[in-house]
Symmetry: D2
Subunit: 289 residues, 4 copies
Amino acid sequence: MTSATAAHPGRWVLTFVCRDQPGIVHAVSGAIVQARGNILESQQFSSDDTGRFFMRLELETDVPRADIVAVLEPVIGRFEMAWQLDEAGRPKRTLVLVSTAAHTLNDLLFRRRSGQLPVEIPLVLSNHGALRDLAEFYGTPFESLPVVDADSKAAFEQRVLDAVAEHDIELVVLARYMQILSPELCEKLRGRIINIHHSFLPGFKGANPYKQAHARGVKLIGATAHFVTSDLDEGPIIEQNVVRVDHSRTATELVSIGQDEESRTLRQAVTWFAQDRVLLDGARTIIFR
Amino acid sequence: MTSATAAHPGRWVLTFVCRDQPGIVHAVSGAIVQARGNILESQQFSSDDTGRFFMRLELETDVPRADIVAVLEPVIGRFEMAWQLDEAGRPKRTLVLVSTAAHTLNDLLFRRRSGQLPVEIPLVLSNHGALRDLAEFYGTPFESLPVVDADSKAAFEQRVLDAVAEHDIELVVLARYMQILSPELCEKLRGRIINIHHSFLPGFKGANPYKQAHARGVKLIGATAHFVTSDLDEGPIIEQNVVRVDHSRTATELVSIGQDEESRTLRQAVTWFAQDRVLLDGARTIIFR
Amino acid sequence: MTSATAAHPGRWVLTFVCRDQPGIVHAVSGAIVQARGNILESQQFSSDDTGRFFMRLELETDVPRADIVAVLEPVIGRFEMAWQLDEAGRPKRTLVLVSTAAHTLNDLLFRRRSGQLPVEIPLVLSNHGALRDLAEFYGTPFESLPVVDADSKAAFEQRVLDAVAEHDIELVVLARYMQILSPELCEKLRGRIINIHHSFLPGFKGANPYKQAHARGVKLIGATAHFVTSDLDEGPIIEQNVVRVDHSRTATELVSIGQDEESRTLRQAVTWFAQDRVLLDGARTIIFR
Amino acid sequence: MTSATAAHPGRWVLTFVCRDQPGIVHAVSGAIVQARGNILESQQFSSDDTGRFFMRLELETDVPRADIVAVLEPVIGRFEMAWQLDEAGRPKRTLVLVSTAAHTLNDLLFRRRSGQLPVEIPLVLSNHGALRDLAEFYGTPFESLPVVDADSKAAFEQRVLDAVAEHDIELVVLARYMQILSPELCEKLRGRIINIHHSFLPGFKGANPYKQAHARGVKLIGATAHFVTSDLDEGPIIEQNVVRVDHSRTATELVSIGQDEESRTLRQAVTWFAQDRVLLDGARTIIFR
């Protein structure tokens, strides 16, 4: 992290959740005034379903982080907030898991290099070697570990956990990683794994969604980025997109047509996560776009 | 039907289905040349799933219908075609079933009066009286028959069948008609009933799809027009549309937001059906747009 | 307006614009706390182009309007705000001008009756009589005054101004009203007239945009709702939508295809205006969706 | 080209244009029957604007190309057709011109390597060296020649013409090539140069369209793939897409947001061209999707 100086004020993202009640915005904005902060962006949501209040603020100030926290602490205590304060634009440390399909990885790496995706990727981990060249072209370390049985699967998942610890990983992205994660891994990384599913959920869960879509004769196919839970393809949805198809498309053509939606949907979800725009409200997500 | 004269050549729509094999297009186009016809529009599709060949042709000729049929008959026989030849633009006789929601009926009636929907509607039939005024404003006969138990439901369905016979109905439209039709009625009118379901099928079948969509936290809601079969919300899909929503929308707001998609999706399906652009290929539809 | 009581707290929309500077949010939220208010929705925007700060708040309180204003006044004065405080959901008094095309009027009236459009329409004014039946079916007063020359045009515009005064009109909607308003009228009602233009502006300004679109061979046609200024089709854009077309569509078919986009685009713009979600930032609009 | 054998029948694409008149389809399909061909796909269009008839057919036959041509020749002569018969799926030889923006080139090269873009790219030619690495990662020859004045521009354009001759180029793609081609070059390669313009034409022609779009406050930004003519940004449009933006986006953010639409729009246009699905009808294109 860079430290703010008077000459270069820092920009921060504050997000928090607490029970909905009067006075929250005033208390928080008061603390920000105390921290000589200016609010640049602000979004809030009161959930009727859970009675909770969600807020995301971007602020600019020339005081250091510790001073911001000091003035926030009484407010945090009073409202019993779950909160986070992060430097705006700081790239989130991201581990990407892949198998053999290249399109979503290519999109993530290309956009990251273009400076459009606020993540750093210390490692791409795969159960195949196929995407090594692509990762390395973008200067990203790549490891592959075959997953062929229960033992090798356990070893792969242990490698995931080790990599998470080693690189202080904040986000794990399943970029068309074609293995189901164990419930234990899902639980340990709860709220930190994003998957791209190649259908418009909740339609066509599980394997071969394009084949299912073809058989059902849908007129739009889609992609869904969601948090991974131990309940397959049932985790909270972050983003979805669809594209029109017609009767003349084979299941194989749907696979190709859907790639754009998969790539853009996953990239969008990762971007929002990295910008602290995704908050969890039970089984649903709040997206402060 | 108007009869074609040399001065006013008739325009016809020919659709047919047969086993896929070489020579079909040449044989059909030969018959059309014989009938002094000019092909104005032509679409075809070979189904890999079922091995069948589908074609839709619009043609112009100054010979009467009987003469067209006469030259087509040998071709029809040779290729064992299921076929249909109809005057282009002839409004299809349509029975509309409604309950209390007005938006899809309003859209159909408004578009029909504007000359944009090629149907005539000799009757709107409802299990409530709520939409009488709307139907009558558009000069459309309206009847209501309460459906409260098995007997009244049977009576309603008998009235549907009677109306179909009486008005020589070609299409029955369920414009947010909130009763499930009996398997017998579905069977009798197979391929002639179009329903609008207020979700993006196959997600959220059955009752209260917007409530289901809200609970699941989807980021797009949709509407699906499909043929009705005895398998609820599982009939062949004709058209689908979606619209973006976010976390801040209540289930009630989704109901309102979805109305546009329901109206346009149903209207599109009815239009295509009325233009003989919808053909059945097993559980899927061929749409010759 | 209804008055709030302790048992039935009032819901209010506060919008304001001022020079961007630190402390605004805190000062405003402090006043709201003083007024025993709870902030239900909040959006803000700092314009880099003009250096101005825009905010919209929805709040709930059991104190009357005068008390809210009293606590706000020092803040308003300190920051030199242009501001507005209105009861949330209060229907805006709207004058609709039409010619002969029915689709946007039909959509507005249908949605208003369904309770989905927060306006009241004391008068529909037209230069033709064609839409009288439609207006009257929805219980809306209708007047027509022919516009055939400079004198009758001046008389029509005077009738507009009289109606605005008489009904205390807050918004004038040109629902496919096919006359160009005089610069004087545009100026007098600046920021209060919304037009629907049947193209994706800035493409195809002026007359016959669908014909222009056909000639140019565009692959998407669109609609644009914008504020009217004396500079034809150049006023600030509020909302735009497009729909895909292909080479086979005639200019006449484009007219029909575009109706949906015109209706939904105009309705969306009117809804946002009526909910105080549209603010002006020079030649651009801020939309707090 | 591969030669068809009885065991491996060839698949061909026939496209032609002629004056619209009766009997064309029958004559062509008769020739195809003579060539032992089976029609797999067929599309046609009669242009009211120009009185011309356009057709594209995909057919399968086990006779060699010369035999197909032999049976077609009388038909071609009789109807005075401009025609083309190409092997289906044959990759078109494509020269890509770029400057420094990587996204459209990356998309084309990635899709080509995935087997989804039916082109071969013997050369990427640039006025900068910036994209050499990217081209070479995908195994594509890359040359750069600076363009700084009239002479170097002439030299660059001569290199284009030489490369076209040397590699028997069928299509030149301007993948965000930021120089205006001379009228002479446009004329020599008429109907064979596709450009991607980063706006929804005809809005925002010329330089800095995203800056123009921001200033005008449009609510959707877009991309347009079109044939290049000597009339800047006025050539026949092949494909267009748009994406929604709001007031909070800076002109710089629009540049980033628009990249997806540019990439997909250009790729779509190139794919259709390579599949012989794009025909010219005066200033408009016929797209047989």
